[in-house]
Symmetry: D3
Subunit: 67 residues, 6 copies
């Protein structure tokens, strides 16, 4: 029954990587808390680097500086 | 003043269906909790089936199996 | 499979009212989008009136003025 | 370490405006709560006006009436 | 830089289990997407069983029936 | 109409500080995007340090080391 929301920047996450995040998170909740995988929901949000800020600035700018 | 977030897969939800979800949710909160509809906010997120997991796998794969 | 999050202020919502919000939202998603109620998840967050702002001020202050 | 999520309608927010929201929010948290800007995360979601409801109706309809 | 939100029912999750969820999720994002663990944020929300619905009813009721 | 969610650790945030976060965020959205403060909603979540992870560990542990 858990609900997990994963937010990452939209920098080319592949369908296979998304599948790994979903199965990995679901297994983690089963292993640690014995949660039923059948009703574990995982939602991945991909966010534009213009819309993600850290350190007070857009990730877009950090990427331009090679960070 | 309530805030409601509805997340569904992006499988062809029409503007009319979105309007029904918004009015239905707003009425429900007015009826059950006497909340003022004027300040009730509803936000609908449509999520790609690759980005939605249940049972440890992507909805995309479940749809391919006809689930 | 939908996920719904309802946020309201923590002003005495009863368990019965929560049950009505959960069943009402689940039925709405079944009626409008034909979503399976068995995997529809609804999470209700009750928020202290000090922590909820509208119009630039805390709900606590609005309540003190009778709003 | 704070996490801030800002949701607005997708009505032409420019990259410069997003940058102002990110720096302004980060500074606010530093000034009020002495939070370290280096680990303050801000995520901006732009939502289609069909998917945003207030007063029980879509923002799209309110905009058509000039609201 | 990823942000992960894990919502589970508040049924006795221990601090050690929370630590495992945090380290496990952070490692998963490092392994799958090469994300820097130093800026990966994980927030766990524990939700009362009265406030969590699935299948149109409160988890409280399901637990009473032994589900 | 914007919706803002601010998550911080529950380390003694005062009602006055919450009021400042609410008014500051609302003013920022008015200044940058010309948003109507009357319908701007701000919700502050205070999260236990056991439930907040960064760098793969709980904030509780970082605080014990003086970080």
């Amino acid at each position: 029954m858990p609900y997990v929301n994963i937010k990452v920047t939209d920098e080319g996450v592949t369908p296979e990587q998304k599948a790994e995040l979903i199965s990995g998170t679901t297994e983690l909740l089963q292993r640690v808390l014995n949660k039923n995988p059948e009703t574990t929901v995982v939602v991945i949000d991909e966010v534009n680097t213009d819309n993600w800020g850290i350190g007070g600035e857009q990730v877009t700018h950090r990427r331009e500086r090679g960070q």
